[in-house]
Subunit: 575 residues, 2 copies
């Protein structure tokens, strides 16, 4: 049994190979975070010998999952611990290089599932950077004091403003295709054309030109926003950051940040538990039974009390635990293909917590908590595991926690009670609340990546059903009514429950894991696509295919040949 | 040298293995087409021994590429030869089975590139069925007189109205995931939720239930539009078809169809030529040099003359040839990874042909020709080959033919003339015309699958550049101006031309073919996604990955194990 509190780092390939996502700035090996009034600076300075796994050196600020775990932590802490920072300068601690992208030897040596999971997490962090810029007014600026190539440039693309030093050698580049036979697959291709609006033919040329583009041409082609002579660099970067910080809005509410204290996590081979969230892992059945517990008490009286509770406030504490659990299971338990989701506790108290946050959504902390819950639920949406919600007596699928059931591929809700267990129990009910429903402005507090609420996606193309469901808000709905409104998939009674649920779970474990991943990735995203969903679908699905093909990953493929002096050998068939 | 006129069928696996797409109803082995007034009937009656390639039997109306080639031909002929048909009943000539989907032994024995290309063509035909329904008022009705499973149900999903016989045994099903470890990947997953608005959790259950759903539940779940008792079947189907046919609009213009005469095609190992389109294949360089020739004379005086010219009318003739060429190269020349596109002739005459069609777009034939050109250009957009347009003196990239350059990944336009070749030549010019620009109603006559014109996609997020480009309509633009307006990628002069073009082509041939496919599939579709683009991106990219994984296609994978009595062995890691 390991007890991994936030701040501990996993051994790099030695001892347990389990990856932990908890860390804190004092433990960073690859980043330095400094906050000076309204401007924060995040300096990437990767420790060459600090790889998460043995077998590669992180030269030239190249990164692996360990580097990205620290970046994710820094982005989260900036939002919660430093809400006053209105501009975040991302720059490099190395001479001449901003970041060389994902480490190629690491990629070449990694299993397919590792590569795909790594890229997914990288994408989520970059989406989080954009979310901070747009929804928290914490604007990221990429200050490229040297070359940014591949994933390094993709990181810059996630920033609102890109500055590049003009020294006749520093460039931005996407050399993945010409050098490695893979795509700029962590958002690069999508953001170049869909965010920065680089013309597609120029983008094509750029992504085949391994040596990159710098100077005025990089500006003319919209690859960066400005180039700055080396002599003016420090001044111009500081001025730009200050100007952006000052032009933003101040966070409203108590300006003091809250401390993201280490999670109270206990991890064994078959259990993961925190204060509000726990999971039992059953490797034999390929199942994780996840339980989220509702608040044990009503919410505090005022938003000031939420600030005072800080990381102990239930919604935030639960979200942090759920986030960590998702990342742990995705990375460490790849053969556990089905996640059973339960929510236990008082629906009223969940709804009361939601109401407190929504009533104070102009307060920066309430806003951050809702945004974090939104991002965590989005993580669930792109998780390649079958999600099955079980709604039983004693459950509290209401408001924000009902989103778990709406995120699931299927939900089973007990009709009546378990006669033998507790004949007098109150039957399960689900309750829609304001957290589930669009309000002004925008698309509800917890939209999916496609911009729809989970209810809107569920009833895509069926506005009558959507209205009927939304009208029920506030009413506890027992199984029959919930099924009639289309809010749960099946509502078996006590007699059928055990068999139906068992068969569903056993079936899931008998199917091709690959086909399930593809099925779920399609059905979960009915309706419109956005830049964000395009990154997880059009771009990532192609990249996953390319990663798996011998032209990239075979013994003579480009990823394996890189740096050996040998040229890759390609099967020239176009597919 | 083979000379394959439309109507000839390729030998099934014997002799040349080259696939030809030309056929005609008299040669069909798998379909019967009958037109009775306003109602056409398309009967699927697959010849078990009629597989395109040896090694499998097409039992239970299962299909292979050969069956789909005939279907495509029938759909095209219905539009051009039978414009009066307002409803098309698609049904089966077999007892008890409508269609069992793609033949599984064929899939199991096929190479990856064959599977992917086959699915792409299948998808294009189904999109064409929807295009006929929506844009030509030729409404497809699936009359499922027996079970429709897998690709059989996906074919039904492409129809506007689905009728299922209610006989206690006929069902619709998507058994791909539980039985074969792959996706319902020819539109199935997307159309179930995005077109028929089946709720995602119900859709999930349906796609894991190999035995399918019939009767009233199939209606309640929106999987079909109506179920009809066997006794009422013939009457109800006829009545429904007549009612739908009568409720539609009559085609305007001369109601007589035109005859799609056999293409005049000459095919050798390294040339493909038709009247207006030709290609030289260079296997060594991996290049096909494609030349489209503009009209040799001005357009006829009136739309009546277009009807009289029929299949000889330049725009239609050229489009049919280009369509056949794309299909030939995609299927038969998988190692030719770069297509060079040239257009030679008179820009004025191209524009005059465009104007004639657009001025008469309410005429059914003019409408059909424009829609066919639109579909053919869309085929180019989803073609997994690098497309490079070369714009030289004597070229006619104007209006509809300019779309070829706009579809290309890059374009090179000669600045000035080839001094040694013809110092007195007129420099190349491109001209935008009404065929390139949105007009009321809708998004221009030749939109891409994402609903944008190619100009809109090119200048996605840059409205100023779009307006400036559109304003130039009608003006011949020489290289400098075309480059300034962003309409071509590069404009090298005589001195640089040969090297620049050669390097671009050689580079392309040196890159990973897989990565190029992924790059192009991302950059070509900046901006919004539609159901159609979701099918080619989210769905197909996942399916391609799944097809390539051992869980499907390995020696113990589900595709190979099917029907052997052995269970598939899965790597249980979730990716």
């Amino acid at each position: 049994m390991t007890r991994a509190a936030t701040g501990e780092r996993p051994a790099s390939g030695a001892g347990t190979s389990r990856v932990e996502f908890g860390t804190c700035p004092e433990s960073y090996r690859h980043w330095r975070l400094a906050v000076n009034g309204q401007v924060a600076t995040l300096v990437m300075d990767v420790a060459e010998q600090g790889g998460l796994v043995a077998g590669y050196e992180l030269k030239l600020n190249s990164y692996d999952l360990g580097v990205d775990i620290e970046l994710y932590d820094a982005v989260q802490r900036l939002r919660f611990e430093h809400p006053g920072a209105r501009a975040v300068l991302m720059t490099s601690g190395k001479e001449k290089i901003f970041c060389a992208g994902a480490n190629i030897r690491m990629l070449a040596a990694s299993s397919h599932s590792w590569k795909v999971n790594f890229c997914k997490f990288t994408n989520e962090t970059r989406n989080g950077i954009e979310d901070a810029t747009v929804n928290s007014g914490q604007v990221y600026i990429a200050a490229l004091n040297g070359t940014a190539s591949g994933g390094g440039y993709e990181l810059a693309l996630a920033c609102q403003h890109i500055m590049l030093v003009d020294d006749r050698s520093s460039v931005v580049s996407l050399p993945e295709l010409p050098l490695l036979g893979v795509l700029p697959g962590t958002g690069g291709l999508t953001r170049v054309v869909d965010k920065r609006h680089v013309r597609r033919d120029i983008a094509d040329y750029f992504a085949t030109k391994a040596e990159g583009i710098g100077g005025k041409k990089a500006v003319a082609w919209r690859l960066v926003d400005e180039v700055v002579p080396r002599a003016r660099w420090q001044d111009q970067v500081s001025e730009r950051a200050l100007a952006i910080a000052r032009s933003g809005r101040e966070p409203s509410g108590d300006p003091a940040g809250i401390r993201l204290t280490p999670l109270d996590k206990t991890r064994t081979d078959d259990t993961i538990s925190y204060r509000h969230v726990s999971a039992r892992l059953d490797a034999g059945r390929g199942v994780a039974e996840i339980t989220v517990r509702g608040p044990v008490a009503g919410p505090p009286a005022s938003i000031a009390d939420v600030h005072a509770q800080g990381a102990d406030f239930w919604t935030l504490a639960m979200t942090r635990e759920l986030d960590d659990l998702i990342l742990d299971l995705r990375t460490n338990e790849t053969e556990i293909g089905t996640w059973i989701l339960r929510a236990l506790g008082s629906a009223d108290r969940v709804l009361a917590h939601d109401r407190l946050l929504l009533a104070n959504s102009s307060d920066w902390l309430a806003n951050e908590i809702l945004l974090y819950l939104k991002r965590t639920l989005k993580r669930l949406d792109v998780t390649s595991r079958s999600l099955i919600a079980l709604i039983e007596p004693g459950s509290c699928f209401a408001g924000s926690l009902l989103e778990l059931a709406l995120a699931a591929d299927r939900s089973y809700m007990l009709f009546g009670v378990f006669e033998e267990q507790d004949r007098e129990a109150t039957p399960a009910a689900i309750t829609l609340g304001p957290a589930n429903i669009p309000g002004p402005p925008g698309n509800g507090p917890l939209p999916m990546g496609n911009g729809l609420t989970r209810l809107q996606a569920r009833f895509h193309g069926d506005p009558g059903a959507l209205v009927a469901a939304e009208k029920s808000a506030g009413e506890p709905l027992e199984a029959e009514e919930a099924e009639r409104l289309g809010l749960v998939t099946f509502a078996p009674d006590d007699i059928d429950w055990a068999d139906e649920v068992r068969i569903a779970i056993e079936e899931r474990a008998s199917f091709s894991p690959d086909a399930l991943t593809g099925l779920e990735a399609n059905y979960r995203f009915a309706g419109p696509e956005t830049m964000e969903t395009k990154i997880f679908a059009r771009l990532s699905a192609w990249q996953n295919w390319i990663f798996y093909r011998p032209n990239a990953s075979g013994p003579d493929g480009a990823l394996r040949a890189y740096g050996t002096g040998k040229r890759a050998t390609f099967d020239r068939k176009r597919v």
